[in-house]
């Protein structure tokens, strides 16, 4: 029997990375999102 969380988990897929790979991904996304936020001028709510 599925619990209520299962439907929400359909939003995800496992994504396994080593610590080094994770750090690299975070650094890359840090730059990527920084560029986009500067571009859009987004501000916190």
């Amino acid at each position: 029997m599925q619990d209520s969380r299962d439907n929400r988990l359909d939003a995800f897929e496992p994504w396994s990375m080593t610590p080094d790979q994770t750090a690299a991904r975070m650094r890359a996304d840090y730059e990527k999102y920084g560029t986009l936020i500067r571009l859009t001028g987004a501000k916190p709510e």
Partner: protein, 288 residues
């Protein structure tokens, strides 16, 4: 899917070489701060994974939800916690976005935390209101070009993944669309269904329930490849716009970084750090 998420926990654990120090860690319950309210997507995924970690390590991993200010309140708490491996955090893409959204944070996003691993990925679904006369991403972009600032897209908030995914698309296609931010993915989806806006990139959990009834129409997915759940739905990249790369949100586990006389790099190579899987060093290292 629940089973697959658990496999992610196992994979995370596999990054931790259980050698000598594994016999002593964790010697007490581990606090896991999730800087989002209970019941949210990060909370749901995080709880499942840390529960599995606790089962595998034979110790309690206690989730502590510290939501607020798009995750910065909880992140600050973690940054100021002892870097002894007994305080972890499960955060989302917002962790890196916050560094650019806020003029000043009480912590350094990259230097004050050391990642353990990405846990799960979240693909965005680009959906439109059925009244919008487009059948694919190319037509959507063509419409935006023909009517600058007249195509309205909803998001779960300024700077959110749902906002930035479309910002990426508009940037790469040199189009202008009007952003309408809402307070969360739920309200944004509701607004789209009601016709207040015309499209959004949302999570499957939020938008899929509206697809069978045709209250929303799925145009594309934001992942690198098509999703097994929607094999007939193309990726945004398949529209072949220059450099429209994938946009995926993620959830990761990040404890406070170890500080001390040794460099972060050497800490991360150390047996204890790797064993803990948190790159924590000695309890006294932080602030040393």
């Amino acid at each position: 899917m629940h089973r697959h998420i658990r496999s992610a926990a196992c994979a995370l654990l596999a990054t931790m070489p259980f050698t000598v120090a594994a016999q002593s860690y964790p010697a007490k319950p581990v606090r896991v701060i999730i800087p989002w309210p209970a019941g949210g997507l990060t909370d749901v995924a995080g709880r499942i994974i840390v529960q599995k970690m606790g089962e595998n390590l034979g110790q309690s991993f206690v989730v502590d939800n510290r939501g607020g200010a798009t995750g910065t309140i909880g992140a600050d708490l973690v940054a100021k916690s002892p870097a002894d491996g007994y305080t972890l955090m499960v955060h989302s893409t917002s962790h890196v976005a916050n560094a650019h959204l806020y003029a000043k944070l009480p912590y350094d996003t990259l230097r004050d935390f050391t990642p353990i691993g990405l846990l799960v990925a979240q693909t965005g679904l680009l959906v439109v209101h059925p009244s919008l006369p487009v059948k694919n991403v190319k037509e959507l972009v063509a419409l935006a070009r023909a009517k600058p600032d007249q195509v309205l897209y909803a998001s779960s908030g300024a700077g959110s993944f749902s906002h930035l995914a479309i910002a990426l698309l508009t940037s790469m296609t040199n189009t202008k669309m009007l952003h309408v931010p809402y307070k969360g993915g739920g309200p944004a989806t509701t607004a789209l269904v009601s016709g207040e806006t015309q499209f959004l990139v949302g999570s499957p959990a939020a938008v899929v329930p509206h697809l069978p009834s045709k209250r929303l129409r799925l145009l594309a997915v934001s992942s690198d490849a098509r999703l097994p759940q929607f094999p007939d739905t193309p990726t945004v990249a398949e529209a072949r716009f220059r450099a429209t790369n994938s946009a995926r949100g993620w959830r990761c586990s990040v404890p406070p970084v170890c500080r001390g006389p040794s460099s972060i790099a050497s800490m991360r190579r150390s047996r204890k750090c790797r064993t803990v899987g948190t790159t924590a060093s000695t309890p006294s290292s932080r602030g040393a």
